[in-house]
C-alpha cells in the first residue's frame, strides 16, 4: 500500500523541522550557544537510534529538549566541577538549584525565529551568517554546507566555529528583539536567506549553473519564516520572489548545461504550481500597504511568469515596477534593469542612452553585466559588430563559466550569421 512513508524518512523530516526549535529552546535556557549545539546534536543522534525501534514519542519536541537538557546538565555539572577545582570557590547556590533551570517546562513556544535573528545578526559577516544559519536553523551538516559552497569541509567547519566565537565575544543576546530593532533584524534575516537562494540559483563560481540544494534550502527557510511571521509583507514578498524565480529553473539550462536566456526559454517547462503559489502570495500581500523591494522584485518576476510568450511580456508594467524600486533602493543593478525595461518599451536607442549615464557610476563601471546588456541592446538596434565586441568584452569579464560560455556563443552566433 502506498500510504504513509517509511518511518525512517518521517523521522528524518521531523528531526530537521524540530532541530532549530529544540536548539532555540536550549540556547534560550542555557545561553551557551556552542555547548547547546553539541547537546542538541547528541539528542538528535539519540532520536535516530531509539525512535525507529521504539516508535515516536508522544511529544517528540519535548523528548528532544529533555534529552538535550540532560546533556546540558552534565555539561554544566562538569563545568562547575572544573571551576571548583580551578578556583576553589564554593558557590553559595547549591548545584541542585543551579540545575533547576534544566527542568523541562511545558512551554511550546517556537524559538526558531529568535535563533534566526541570532544567526543573521549584523555583527556577523554575510558568509558567516549564511553558514551558521544553514547549520543551526537549516540543520545541514558541515560537510553538506561545504559541498554546496565548493570549499573543503575543514574550511567550512572553521568558518562556523569563528561565527560562534564572534557571537560569544560580542555578547549577542539570544532574545526577542525590541519593536524598534525588529524591522532591521528581520531585514538582515531576509537578506541572508536571499543570499543563500541566489548562491544556489546563479552559482557565483564553478561550472554548474544551479546548486539546487542551496536554493531548495533557502526556499524551505523562507517558508518557515513566512509561517512564523505570516503578516509581514516583505517576508511574503521574499518567499514569492524565490518561488517565481525558481519556477523557471528547469527551462533555464539546456541539455549540455548551457544557459538559456528568459526570452528563449521553453515556457511549458516552467513550474505552474510554484508560479500559482507565488502569485497568490503577492496578491494577498500587495494591497496591505507598505511595499518593499522584495515584493516589487517578486511582482516583476510574476509579470514575466504570467506572459504566455516573451513577446507578450507586459514591459510597461515592468518599467513602472522598476521605477518604484529605483525610488526606494539606491542599487545600480536596479537602474540597469530599469534601462532594459526602457529599451523594451521605448526602443533600444532609449535604453542605450540610459546605459551611457550608468557607465559613469563607479559601482558599475567595468562590470560585465553592463557590457552584456549593451551587447543585447546593440544587437536589437542592428549594430552587429558593436554587439559582437561587447558580448566578447562581457565574456572576458564575467567570473561565471556558464555565463561566459553563453556570451561567447552569442557573439559567435552573430558572426556566423554575418557569414
Amino acid at each position: 500500500m502506498a500510504g504513509a512513508p517509511p518511518l525512517d524518512g518521517r523521522i528524518q523530516h521531523l528531526l530537521r523541522e524540530l532541530s532549530p526549535q529544540v536548539l532555540g529552546a536550549v540556547v534560550r535556557r542555557y545561553r551557551d550557544f556552542a555547548a547547546s549545539e553539541d547537546a542538541v546534536q547528541e539528542a538528535l543522534i539519540a532520536a535516530v537510534t531509539h525512535w525507529p525501534g521504539e516508535g515516536l514519542p508522544d511529544n517528540p519536541r519535548a523528548w528532544l529538549i529533555r534529552v538535550a537538557g540532560r546533556r546540558m546538565t552534565d555539561h554544566v555539572r562538569a563545568e562547575t566541577a572544573r571551576r571548583h577545582r580551578e578556583q576553589i570557590v564554593v558557590s553559595l547556590v547549591p548545584p541542585e538549584e543551579q540545575l533547576a533551570i534544566a527542568a523541562v517546562d511545558g512551554d511550546e513556544r517556537d524559538d526558531t525565529l529568535d535563533l534566526l535573528f541570532m544567526c543573521c545578526h549584523p555583527t556577523l559577516s554575510p558568509s558567516s551568517a549564511i553558514a551558521l544559519t544553514l547549520r543551526s536553523v537549516g540543520g545541514l551538516t558541515t560537510a553538506e554546507i561545504a559541498r554546496a559552497f565548493l570549499v573543503p569541509e575543514a574550511t567550512m567547519a572553521q568558518r562556523i566555529s569563528r561565527a560562534k566565537q564572534t557571537i560569544k565575544a560580542s555578547g549577542v543576546p539570544f532574545e526577542v528583539p525590541t519593536a524598534e530593532q525588529r524591522a532591521a533584524r528581520l531585514g538582515a534575516v531576509n537578506h541572508v536567506l536571499y543570499l543563500i537562494f541566489n548562491e544556489g540559483y546563479t552559482a557565483s563560481s564553478g561550472p554548474e549553473l544551479h546548486r539546487t540544494d542551496l536554493s531548495g534550502e533557502a526556499l524551505r527557510l523562507a517558508r518557515l519564516l513566512h509561517r512564523l511571521i505570516p503578516d509581514d509583507g516583505e517576508v511574503a514578498g521574499l518567499l514569492a520572489l524565490m518561488l517565481l524565480t525558481d519556477a523557471r529553473r528547469a527551462a533555464r539550462t539546456g541539455p549540455a548545461g548551457e544557459l538559456i536566456p528568459l526570452d528563449e526559454q521553453d515556457r511549458s517547462r516552467w513550474d505552474r504550481d510554484a508560479i500559482g503559489e507565488g502569485v497568490a502570495l503577492l496578491t494577498a500581500t500587495l494591497p496591505r500597504g507598505a511595499v518593499g523591494p522584495y515584493q516589487l522584485q517578486a511582482a516583476v518576476a510574476a509579470v514575466h511568469d504570467e506572459a504566455a510568450s516573451a513577446a507578450e511580456t507586459d514591459w510597461p508594467q515592468i518599467l513602472a515596477l522598476y521605477g518604484l524600486l529605483q525610488r526606494i533602493s539606491d542599487n545600480p543593478m536596479v537602474t540597469l534593469n530599469h534601462a532594459i525595461a526602457v529599451a523594451m518599451v521605448e526602443g533600444p536607442a532609449a535604453g542605450l542612452e540610459r546605459l551611457d549615464a550608468l557607465a559613469r557610476d563607479p559601482r558599475l563601471a567595468g562590470h560585465h553585466r553592463l557590457d552584456a546588456v549593451r551587447a543585447h541592446l546593440l544587437e536589437r538596434a542592428g549594430d552587429r559588430d558593436g554587439a559582437i565586441a561587447f558580448f566578447q568584452r562581457a565574456a572576458e569579464r564575467t567570473a561565471s563559466t556558464a555565463e561566459r560560455n553563453y556570451l561567447i556563443t552569442r557573439a559567435a552566433r552573430l558572426r556566423d550569421a554575418a557569414g
Binding site: P207, A256, G257, E258, G366, Q392, A395, E396, R397, T398, A399, T401, N405, I408, T409, A411, A412, R413, R415, D416
Partner: protein
C-alpha cells in the same frame, strides 16, 4: 600521488575560443564538461578550476608598510594560466595520459588543439618511517 595539470594559453595563440564559429565553441565546451565528469567518475579528480580572463588580473607586491601595490597584467604577456586540474593518480604515466586527453580538446573544425599542458607533481607530506 597528486599532479597539477596546468593549461597555459598563449596570447594570440590557437586558444582564442571567443573567435571560433558557434558549433566549434559548443563542441569544445561539451568536451571539457564530459572530461571533468569522466575524471570525477574515475575517482581521480581532486579539484579543478577555470580562471576568469586575464583582462582584470593584477600583480600584487607588498609596499614599504605592507600595503598592497597592484599592477596590471601586461598585455604583452606571452601566455597566461587558463585553468588547472589536480588529479590523484597511481603513476606519473597516468597523469601524462590525462594531460594528453585535455590537450586534444577539439578546436576550430573539430581538430584537436594539442595545447601544451604543464604537469607538475604536488608536494606531499613526509614519508612513512622506515627502519
Amino acid at each position: 600521488m597528486k599532479y597539477m595539470l596546468m593549461m597555459n594559453t598563449p596570447t594570440g595563440g590557437p586558444y582564442q575560443i571567443a573567435q571560433w564559429p558557434q558549433q566549434d565553441i559548443k563542441a569544445h565546451i561539451a568536451f571539457m564538461m564530459s572530461f571533468a565528469r569522466q575524471l570525477g567518475e574515475s575517482g581521480e579528480l581532486v579539484g579543478a578550476e577555470g580562471l576568469a580572463g586575464p583582462d582584470q588580473a593584477k600583480v600584487v607586491r607588498a609596499g614599504k608598510d605592507g600595503t598592497p601595490i597592484t599592477d596590471g597584467v601586461f598585455p604583452e604577456s606571452k601566455e597566461f594560466l587558463a585553468g588547472y586540474w589536480i588529479v590523484d593518480v597511481d603513476s606519473p604515466e597516468r597523469a601524462y595520459q590525462i594531460a594528453a586527453q585535455a590537450s586534444a580538446a577539439p578546436g576550430p573544425g573539430g581538430a584537436p588543439l594539442n595545447l601544451p599542458i604543464e604537469v607538475r607533481q604536488v608536494m606531499s607530506g613526509p614519508p612513512a618511517d622506515s627502519f
